[in-house]
Amino acid sequence: GCSNQETTATDEGDSAGASKTLVMATSPDYPPYEFFETAGGEGEPIGFDIDIAKYITEQLGYELEVSGMDFNGIIPALQSERADFAMAGMTPTEERKQNVDFSDIYYEAKNTIVTKKGAGFDGFKALKGKSVGVQLGATQQEAAQKASEEIGGFNIEPRNRISELIQEVKAGRIDAAVVEDTVAKGYIQNNPDLEFTTVENAEAAGSAIAFPQGSELTAEFNQVLEEMKANGEMEKLIQKWFEEYYEQQGQQ
């Protein structure tokens, strides 16, 4: 017979004793949202998203386990319930909403174009006929596609990781990479030969938490997000990761 086991390991299975562990999928190539702190030798995932996740799970009484993967693997991970939720600076789009559930937006950002210094690309228009890198499966891919259709075409080069994209720009293999401003800032600071310009983008690239469809966690998480915004916790983290972090980087 064909007995369907709908239960996954993360369901009620072992809630008897210790508190339940939630697995969070993320793509740790995205400082300051999420990346690895490797200097200690242990490889701790840190960043804005990680801190939010820690706070929320703590409030709700869960243990947190972070599982790193390429960005394009995150939604499949949720669909296959390999992860209980995902935080990866992920923007809730219509397409994605058909496949996963989203929390409220917790941070807004803008897209930028990262290029070599002095390349002089000030917007998508200037990129006609050039090659433009985006992260595979990210909203930037759609944005670039749309822009490409509007202005009459450039090559879109998808890569799995942001770090690869930046390396490609430095190598001159692609002319520009579409990256969020907060993230681009870090890369620019560390690569003096690069610069970025904010693009005139229509829809904002807000970040939200993603869940498997129908997950009961969505409501619980939204509630804590609300609290964080109210009690200043969110502002503290924004301060920590989008100001202090860059100051530190600049000092190094």
Binding site: C2, Q141, R159, A171
Partner: protein, 237 residues
Amino acid sequence: MNLNFVRMIDLHSCLFAQLNLDFSRITPSIPYIFGGIWVTLQFTLLSAIFGFIWGTILSLLKISSIKPLYWFGMAYTSIFRGTPLLVTLSLIYFATPQLTGYNISGFQAGVITFSLNSGAYISEVIRAGILAVDKGQTEAAMSLGVSYKPMMLDVILPQAIKNILPALVNESIALLKDSALVSTIGATDLLRRAQIVGAEKYVYFEPLLIVAVVYYLMVMSLTLSANLLEQRLRKSS
């Protein structure tokens, strides 16, 4: 129809049911995926040809009596056999522009890496093929007063080819399979196209399954022709 068989079918449909396979969503993208067949084949072919040329040169270095050439050949082979292809591939992909200023594409970096890599393996194959020819053949030629070059060209190499050819086809099969690695540096081969379609349509498993089958069919047809070739060679001797 016996019971066991029925249960097997049952199990199968159960497996597939649990996977929730849904090919309909990616049907429009299938031509795009199949376009990767040509990329993969082209890639394999180019790498095999350059790898063979480079391997022949290397094998000559390695049976050479000039020490520096010999050592170069040995060190080269050792390095390529000692490093994961995925690592070499990334290194070459990212180092070439920095070193030469030339903006190598993923496809080109792939062909270069795979040629350099399979050159190392092919040189071993050729060297072994030459060494496998019965020493009596060399002695017979020498005792007739034949000198080194005609002995190699007329007596040894024609016999070595028979040992080498099947191994070369096997090396090509390995190349075909390894070619999937270029997906990691952005060449739009079969595997990469499956990933791209997966990311676009939020179905990950189905495109992978399709390319797995395509790879399998390609490898099998190469294997079959290798077997035929080997049989024919064995018959002719």
